[in-house]
């Protein structure tokens, strides 16, 4: 028996807006609207775009010392995460690989966690089994909508003045259109913006309030992917997985100093060893010199023909105006400026290792 594809609370709106619906991780989601991926991408970089991200898992953690307990599963300093703050993190396994990445918010009387759609069935039992005395509850009656772009503050702020006061990685409860929403200033595009958790029954109505703004248009998963790739943000399953360590994935910035020094999370031995000695491979930005996009799985070779690794995410970057990619290479070939070859359909195409992100992140700090 296969599960029928699931629909988010915004499904009818996607259809009404002409969204092209595809199956994504078991969800019927819009890959694009009539504007097209390139137009939606540029809309987000230049004005504001609205994305349905309700397929992601929203989870509430209640109990004593939840932040401290989360530190037993994640290498982030969640014990010291202040109320009203959100932090990017990941679950690690005993081998120091990444089980999933997530956003944890301290909501005062509880913690609010957002995990990847495809991994909620792993993550929720993982937390239930390992967080003693913590009540782990998945929320099924709220949509999650992202409004992203330089005009996001205006689009959301006109309906919810409190949104203007939030800084990057801050979260609060606020009224939008007469309904209480959790609004967090963060996202997955490299732009300023918000992710807003809205009660299911009001999700379409509130989304339409955002879309009524002249500067806000709907965008699908296609643009979400090209935006996050240009912003150098990892996609779980492509760029990070159970085998890759956070150090290999160039995510050491997401592990706070105390945790690096003290360890005490699954796989800490590997992570600390790689911090001290360097990892054997490294996730880097790759800029093909020609126009051919280098997709996931494309082999990366040195100029002398040695295999260095493979592309993990690759597409056309509408803002860059050419192909962009990320992939793993042997660490001694990972310096920005290193020339490599990408083996696309049997032919070597020249490319260069570049610093991430491809576009400047535009967060409101």
């Amino acid at each position: 028996m296969t599960d029928a594809p699931k629909r988010t609370p915004l499904y009818d709106l996607h259809v009404e807006l002409g969204g092209k619906i595809v199956d994504f991780a078991g969800w019927e989601m819009p890959v694009q609207y009539p504007m097209g991926i390139m137009g939606e991408h540029k809309q987000c970089r230049e004005k504001a775009a609205l994305f349905d991200v309700s397929h992601m898992g929203q989870v509430i953690l209640r109990g004593d010392n939840v932040g401290e307990k989360l530190e037993s599963l994640c290498p982030q300093a969640f014990a010291t995460l202040k109320e009203g703050k959100a932090r990017y993190g990941f679950f690690t396994n005993d081998d120091g690989g990444i089980m999933d990445d997530l956003i944890v918010s301290n909501a005062g009387d509880h913690y609010f966690v957002v995990v990847n759609a495809a991994l909620r069935h792993q993550d929720i039992p993982h937390m239930q089994a390992n967080l003693d005395g913590v009540e782990v509850t998945e929320i099924f009656d709220r949509a999650l909508v992202a409004v992203q772009g330089p005009k996001a503050e205006d689009v959301v702020g006109e309906l919810c003045p409190a949104a203007r006061e939030l800084k990057f990685m801050e979260t609060a409860l606020a009224d939008i259109g007469g309904v209480e929403c959790r609004i967090s200033r963060l996202g997955y595009t490299g732009e300023d913006g918000y992710e807003i958790s809205i009660p299911e029954a009001d999700a379409i109505r509130v989304s339409k309030l955002f879309l009524a703004h002249d500067d806000c248009e709907p965008a699908g998963l296609g643009a979400r992917d090209s935006l996050r790739l240009e912003a150098g943000l990892c996609l779980y399953g492509n760029d990070i997985d159970q085998s890759t360590s956070p150090i290999e994935a160039s995510l050491s910035w997401a592990i706070q100093k105390r945790r690096k020094e003290d360890g005490g999370f699954p796989g800490a031995a590997r992570v600390q060893k790689e911090l001290a000695e360097g990892a054997a491979k490294k996730l880097v930005g790759i800029k093909p010199e020609g126009r051919a996009p280098a997709r996931q799985g494309v082999e990366i070779q040195s100029e002398s023909g040695d295999t260095l690794g493979a592309i993990t995410s690759g597409s056309f970057g509408p803002t860059v105006g050419g192909p962009v990619a990320m992939g793993y290479v042997a660490a001694d070939h990972g310096a920005a400026g290193t020339k490599v070859n990408l083996i696309i359909r049997g032919k070597a195409q020249p490319a260069e290792i570049v610093a991430l992100p491809f576009v400047t992140q535009n967060y409101k700090r």
Partner: protein
């Protein structure tokens, strides 16, 4: 000038023994915004059913298959710098190859416009 259609969503017009080949508007719409076209060179031989190039959209790469045997006599080189023409004018300026046909009887295996419309519904 007759126009034929293949099940791989190509159009073919024939003048004498030279066929002009492109992708249909339906195919272009399905692909989404084209960002790169990989083409063969003048003089290359095509065998019916063989892969003769790749069209990449933002989303994915799609192969082009030869609807007929023949030899490439001209490549539309404007597509290298302007792949987006395949979205704007797939059945006009954005033709992909001109091919000298080896066996004109293979045209009989292709569809006319009515047949193609029935295929795409």
């Amino acid at each position: 000038m007759a126009t034929y259609y293949s099940e791989d969503h190509e159009w073919i017009t024939v003048e004498g023994d030279v066929a002009t080949l492109g992708i249909t508007k339906h195919a272009a719409d399905q692909l989404g915004e084209v960002v790169f076209v990989e083409q063969r060179e003048t003089g290359d031989e095509f065998e019916k059913g063989g892969e003769i190039g790749v069209i990449e959209s933002v989303k994915a790469a799609s192969e082009i298959y030869a609807p007929l045997d023949g030899e490439v006599v001209e490549v539309n080189e404007t597509l290298a710098d302007n792949p987006g023409a395949l979205n704007e004018s797939p059945e006009g300026d954005a033709w992909i190859y001109k091919i000298k046909l080896s066996d004109a009887s293979q045209l009989d295996d292709l569809m006319d416009l009515d047949g193609y419309k029935a295929l795409i519904g």
